[in-house]
């Protein structure tokens, strides 16, 4: 079974630029999550999708971050414009359905904002 795929793996941008990350969850997984992991901390949930609908985006900085999952499969997370404090690893995870919440994580995208 293929795991969660993410791209790119690394990205370096300057502040005020835009960046987008892509995630392809495990086939058949209805729930998709985007996390931000700052160095030395645990992952923090940014947004949770159930199929193509948003379940929780309470911790998403909506003035600069946006995410979509148009067909209920792949998802993109965008930051526009980026700030220095956005430097982190962005992890995508998926689970079969919400009540079976063992989440499987992708390799992550390491973002550096200069």
């Amino acid at each position: 079974e293929a795991g969660v795929a993410q791209s790119p793996r690394y990205k370096i941008i300057e502040k005020r630029q835009s960046v987008a990350f892509w995630c392809n969850p495990i086939s058949g997984h209805a729930t998709l999550y985007w996390y931000q992991q700052i160095l030395g901390q645990g992952p923090k949930l940014l947004i949770q999708f159930q199929n193509n609908g948003v379940v929780d985006d309470s911790q998403l900085p909506k003035d600069r971050f946006s995410a979509e999952r148009l067909k209920g499969v792949d998802s993109t997370l965008k930051i526009q414009p980026a700030k220095l404090e956005d430097s982190a690893v962005y992890l995508c995870a998926s689970s079969l359905y919400p009540s079976h919440n063992e989440q499987f994580f992708g390799p992550g995208t390491r973002l550096t904002v200069l």
Partner: protein, 115 residues
């Protein structure tokens, strides 16, 4: 707001020794998850604990959950170098329902096993 605290945050131990990592949380929950993260890698699921008194073991690692004490432990038996990694616990609030099953992670415990 659910708070999850792990201790210790840093653990250096010798091969062959035993130790326990603790995960305390602040609200009712009977669902707790342990993950492992190697440097520069993503999170790997280790254990899923879904009820009070749940105990699971895999190799040299054993995890348990006491929902009344709001405490989970990850016990390491006869540590080996390959166990060096960061270990995270993650808690799902006990009032989860509907479609929101949000995990809150601890800060992680960086384990270094020395020869």
């Amino acid at each position: 707001e659910l708070k999850v605290e792990q201790n210790p945050l840093f653990l250096s131990m010798q091969e062959g020794k035993n130790y326990t990592i603790y995960c305390n949380y602040s609200t009712t929950s009977d669902r707790l998850y342990w993950y492992r993260q190697d440097p520069g890698k993503s999170l790997e699921s280790l254990f899923v604990l879904l009820s009070n008194g749940a105990v699971k073991q895999e190799g040299r690692l054993m995890a348990s959950l006491d929902t009344k004490a709001r405490l989970s432990t990850l016990h390491i038996t006869a540590a080996v170098h390959d166990l060096s990694a960061t270990y995270f616990c993650a808690v799902e609030p006990g009032n989860s329902g509907g479609s929101n099953y949000k995990l809150t992670f601890g800060k992680g415990t960086l384990l270094t096993v020395n020869p």
